[in-house]
Symmetry: C2
Subunit: 322 residues, 2 copies
Amino acid sequence: MTEVVLGIDIGGTNTKFGFVDREGNLLCDYSISTAVHKTIDSYLQSLTNNIEKALNEINQDINFIGIGIGAPNGNYYRGTIEHAPNLNWKGVVNFVKKLKEHYSLPMAITNDANAAAIGEMIFGGAKSMKNFIVITLGTGLGSGFVIDGKIVYGHDGFAGELGHVTVKANGRFCGCGQRGCLETYVSATGIKRTIYKLLADHNGQSRLSGVSFNDLTAEMITDAARDGDPIALEAFEYTGNILGMELADTIILTSPEAIFLLGGLAKAEECIFEPTHRHMENSLMPIFKNKVKLLPSGLHEKNAAILGSAALIWHEIDKNPI
Amino acid sequence: MTEVVLGIDIGGTNTKFGFVDREGNLLCDYSISTAVHKTIDSYLQSLTNNIEKALNEINQDINFIGIGIGAPNGNYYRGTIEHAPNLNWKGVVNFVKKLKEHYSLPMAITNDANAAAIGEMIFGGAKSMKNFIVITLGTGLGSGFVIDGKIVYGHDGFAGELGHVTVKANGRFCGCGQRGCLETYVSATGIKRTIYKLLADHNGQSRLSGVSFNDLTAEMITDAARDGDPIALEAFEYTGNILGMELADTIILTSPEAIFLLGGLAKAEECIFEPTHRHMENSLMPIFKNKVKLLPSGLHEKNAAILGSAALIWHEIDKNPI
């Protein structure tokens, strides 16, 4: 009988989930809509119905022993989702408590970047590491810090918000209410804003000048850069400069062995890794130079979020064997 | 028989040491010159001679069980002092190994800011805390991060260099070889530089305009600010702004319960605490506002460095009872 856990990745639009064994094999994966549910109870009804359906469809002998959840503003200490801007359920949702009404199993929740970091540690590229950072470059910028083999949750469980470090006083407006936050420059959305800033500065002069703000994607910008489009190349240089300098500051605080870049913008590969690494090394004080690796995820992008959430609960089960 | 440890605080000019019991009582304290010794062997001869003298002078029954050392660029993992700019001994000094030739006792070394953080945790204002930061505002700016009850040493033992985070691109020249480091603005030396910048901007207009750069001290600036000197007040506002914004960034990464400000510039009390706290709160994203305490040290300034070094080894002994 194979012991498995359920990994659930809650996004603003969709929720993905799947069963994962101790070696990181994904037995199956499913996706349901998050956005369609206006209340948490309606969402949980749909989620649990689909979990039951999935359990029935698995045609092998399993022992279902735990649930890990990655969610925006997921709080590990309290088992809650708190004031998540991109979810319909406002305020503080006692997610773990509510899900325990359906499954009396060990459960843990955290934010998606922390789940990604645990995923790298348990199943991915950080298996042998005790000190590293994972940065997710999606719609926003998330980060998970692992220090001495443990995720940093901090005093109230919300540590690791690198996306909201201020990189420019009175800079771009951020959804958090502040200005100049890192994620307004460095994320799939941030590089779009940079392209539009550069199109304004240079009065067009790029094949991207035919694309509306709403239609523009990080993938289009990457394709343009690979074809030598000067505005797209300058946008990656600008993004890599800001990210590289911020990573240098983060390195001297936490002295990691490696930093992993994940998510949509990380798919740009050398377009983003090369300028980021160059500016990071240029900004580092001598005792830290040429020591810290900048790496892509060691997990397959497609299932990384489910594997991360599953790794979270495997990690708990390892700490407190049943 | 009282169990005691030896706490040694190595500074560029002087070395202070003393014997400390489990409750943080300092049985005696001594000071010898560091700067006069051109070689590490000559220094160690003087240090161990004076330790022996101190042992003979203690007229109570003690059991000497360990040595803790705080030193610039002290590396906890390797027991070394590495490339310390303000010490005469260049390169990598195997300090713990050399001192073990004299005393076969448990020993640990770290930098002075980490020692200060452990001092707060064991004997000072952070006794009940698991997540906090200590910032020392002296000639430079040092920092010690405690996360989940443990000092953050990172992958190579040099984590926590908040003083060398970049706060202004192409800003003030720093001894580390970079430009715009936090400590060039926020430290006893940093505020002197700010006074001189403001005297230049305002063409004098302060009682401090009669003091040379070499003679100016943080204490004089504090006295001037308390007497309402506009340049001194503006210097504290400027310093508090830069420090407050940087603390906000540090809070969202590590989510501490409190931040302690120690050292020469912290003696300015409200002159530095008030603007720093105000700018810190203004820069925080909503979920972190009004949560993090900004506190002075809970240790008497005079002996804090020795107590910190002593606490380092008490902490080790607690982890691995003899």
